[in-house]
Amino acid sequence: MDRFLIVGAGLSGLSLAKFLNGVLIEKGRVGGFFLNDDYPVGGVRGSRLVEEFREASVVRGAAFEASEEGVYILSEEGSKFIKGFVIGANGFREKTAVELGIFGFRPSGIFPLYSAWELVNRGYGIGERVVIYGLNHYSLSLASKLRASVTFVRGSGSLVHSEGEAMDMGFDVVGAKVKWVEGKARLERLRTDEGELRTDALILAELSPWNPLNLEYRVGNSAMIFEDPSKIVEGAKILSESLLSGGKWVEVISEAPCFPRKVSSEVGKVIVGVREGTRLRLGDREIVAEEPYPVVELPVCDRVRLEVMGCME
């Protein structure tokens, strides 16, 4: 096997690089979102895991083109081609306002989640009355750092976090859809399907996996939205074991988020992006998720169908 090149040095890239003894390609800081994320999930802090995996070897530069042979990167030293087996760890992207069905005139004060996260961590204020569209670990972690009033508009992407958790932290939660933004220079108000909200900042925090290099092999949030940092590491472990095992590939056909979609028969397990209590059918077997992001064992075959049957309340 060639050396492994992992594009992106967030938590998923760092952990994969450790398991595969791979090389990371990173244009900015090592650690990604979890570098500054001290808000725990199930008692685990992402920032601690980042510290644990920081020893990996890093090549500085922005990957801009990939092939089966390797990847081109651009940096202050110029561009170069690095040979290797390329895996994407680019993390999430925020859904755009058009995808979310948010229209109107776009004044200042609308931020994709990660940009707001970066600005807040650099010591800037992003608004006094902040509305966050999308309740998940990442947006909740941002909210915990804001010195502002925060209202969550629930969105649909959350796996782990209940409304109660946000409310316990003192935030308002509205079950609605943001439809329209208004404001001349700076954002002034939002129209939702449940009424108006006065605000001077809107954070778009509905997340999707991001795969800018169109790579077949991906890890972490570039493959499936993981809100739990320990599951990001577990996912990287499953992928690394699959790549190193040399076993036959098993394909998982699933409507629910699932990682990896192809896994070695020697490893024979995947992580499913559902909440605790979800009933799943795996081939002819039915199981109930005992925790969020359960790891499920696959039957021995070339292709497995995974279905969500419902939720145990």
């Binding site: 244009k27 900015g28 530069g61 922005a62 801009f64 083109e65 081109y72 651009l74 940096s75 202050e76 030293e77 110029g78 561009s79 992207r93 925020e94 755009t96 306002a97 058009v98 995808e99 069905g101 229209f103 109107g104 005139f105 004044p107 200042s108 004060g109 931020f111 994709p112 989640l113 990660y114 940009s115 970066e118 600005l119 650099r122 800037y124 204020g125 992003i126 608004g127 439809k179 329209w180 001349k184 220079a185 700076r186 991001w210 800018p212």
Partner: protein, 453 residues
């Protein structure tokens, strides 16, 4: 009071094109605009297509577009502005449209002398454009189109004019005009000027400038929405065939940008006012419904929808007219005003009747972008989606941009798939460092549009 040979009101594509052309001569010129940067009015939000077909062919706008087409490409070459040549496929999807194709072809062939027009069969279309819908039965291909980096051109015209002696004043509103025998006086919210000639190229606001001189014209503000996707689905522009064309619009198309992103639209509907650049869900539904029938492919992630406003005059055509001996109005510069702008500028300069004495001019330094040739570039990449380097952001500031929007328009930072998620903080910090200010002072587009506190 400062005196000029020519004052131009409006730094949109028309005003800038006149500035650019006059900057080749020994003249004192001032261009005034109410916006903070050039091209932020009507010229900010259109498709940046160099057009060929504009009906009716006998209209002034159609003639000027055909005349302006080759000159606009030449100016892009001279200024080092990015553009891509392409063609349009006018697609027949119904049997009656297919049957009428030979007649439409002949009509275009006769009226578009100098442009290559071809009939295309289904086999050719399926081979050359594999994403086309199986419903497409045939097409007419018209060559001579191009897609331009709009802001590179607008800023290029501005930079060239400025370095060759044209004065620019932004954030300045014209409040009154006084016509005298030997000069024109212009009163603004910042002061007073005197000029031998005054040109009204104020775009959407040109009717209001005209009213200051007693001219009576009223525009309908027409709003067109464009949707931009992360990828393109064709090598050519794809337009449905209309057998009853609307004189107010070309009807939109599936297009792409010079950077290869998909660009769909525009539609046309009346705006509620000149400031109405809002987009709603119906616009998107309408555009998606109309154009998705032309292809059998996923258009990708819709990154942004934006609206442009055009001034539609009562007669649906450009108007170029004088007020007295010393003032010329350019009114109703709707689409294809972008393509027509060089020819429009030639007409206006000819009408001035001014003695033009050529001078040596300095060339504009091309804005170098890593993404145009990444394998032979270097730099600290700030925007991953559009491969924008720190140096490009600094260069945008050095060339005059003081707002986030100005920098993003010039460089493409924050305008890629992640919409600034990964680069906004760095862009602001690099801008602040180059400008020597605190990040908190940077605004989105001026007028209190603060970003961080």
């Amino acid at each position: 009071m400062r005196r000029y040979d020519v004052i131009i009101i409006g730094a949109g594509i028309t005003g800038l094109m006149i500035s650019y052309k006059l900057s080749h001569y020994k003249l004192r010129i001032l261009t005034i605009d109410k916006n903070p940067e050039p091209g932020w009015g009507v010229s900010r939000a259109h498709a940046a297509i160099v057009h060929v077909v504009q009906l009716p062919f006998k209209s002034l706008k159609s003639k000027l577009a055909r005349l302006g087409n080759p000159e606009l490409i030449k100016i892009c070459e001279e200024l080092g502005v990015r553009y891509k040549r392409t063609s349009t496929l006018i697609l027949a999807t119904e049997l009656h449209q297919l049957l009428s194709l030979p007649f439409v072809y002949l009509y275009l062939k006769v009226n578009l002398r100098g442009f290559d027009v071809k009939l295309r069969g289904r086999g050719y279309l399926m081979r050359e454009e594999p994403n086309l819908s199986k419903r497409v039965l045939g097409a007419i291909e018209v060559n001579g189109y191009a897609v331009v980096d709009n802001f590179d051109l607008l800023y290029g015209l501005y930079e060239f004019s400025k370095m060759n002696g044209v004065d620019f004043s932004f954030n300045e509103r014209v409040l009154g005009i006084e016509m005298r025998d030997r000069e024109v006086r212009v009163l603004t919210d910042k002061g007073e000027y005197e000029a031998s000639y005054l040109i009204n190229a104020a775009g959407l606001w040109a009717d209001e400038i005209a009213k200051m001189t007693g001219e009576d014209i009223e525009f309908e503000p027409g709003k067109g929405i464009l949707v931009i996707f992360d990828k393109s689905v064709s090598k050519r522009l794809l337009a449905p065939l209309y057998l009853k064309p609307d004189p107010k619009t070309k009807g939109g198309a599936i297009m792409f940008t010079h950077d290869g992103r998909g660009l769909w639209g525009p539609n046309l509907r009346m705006a509620s006012g000149k400031e109405d650049i809002s987009v709603d869900g119906q616009d998107i539904e309408m555009i998606m419904g109309k154009f998705s029938k032309l292809i059998d492919a996923d258009p990708g992630i819709p990154l942004k929808a934006y609206a442009g406003i055009r001034p539609i005059p009562p007669q649906n055509d450009f108007i170029v007219k004088r007020s007295g001996e010393r003032m010329i109005h350019i009114l109703g510069t709707e689409s294809p005003g972008f393509t027509a702008s060089p020819a429009l500028a030639n007409i206006v300069i000819g009408m001035l009747g001014i003695r033009l004495e050529e001078k040596e001019v300095r060339k504009r330094e091309k804005f170098r972008r890593a993404r145009d040739d990444p394998k032979n570039s270097k730099g600290r990449v700030i925007c991953l989606c559009n491969l924008v380097t720190e140096e490009e952001i600094r260069e945008a500031v050095r060339r005059g941009s003081r707002t986030l929007q100005g920098v993003t328009f010039r460089t493409g930072a924050c305008m890629g798939t992640c919409q600034g998620s990964r680069c906004l903080a760095d862009v602001l910090e690099v801008m602040a460092s180059e400008m020597g200010v605190d990040v908190r002072e940077i605004q989105l587009r001026g007028d209190g549009s603060w970003i961080v506190s």
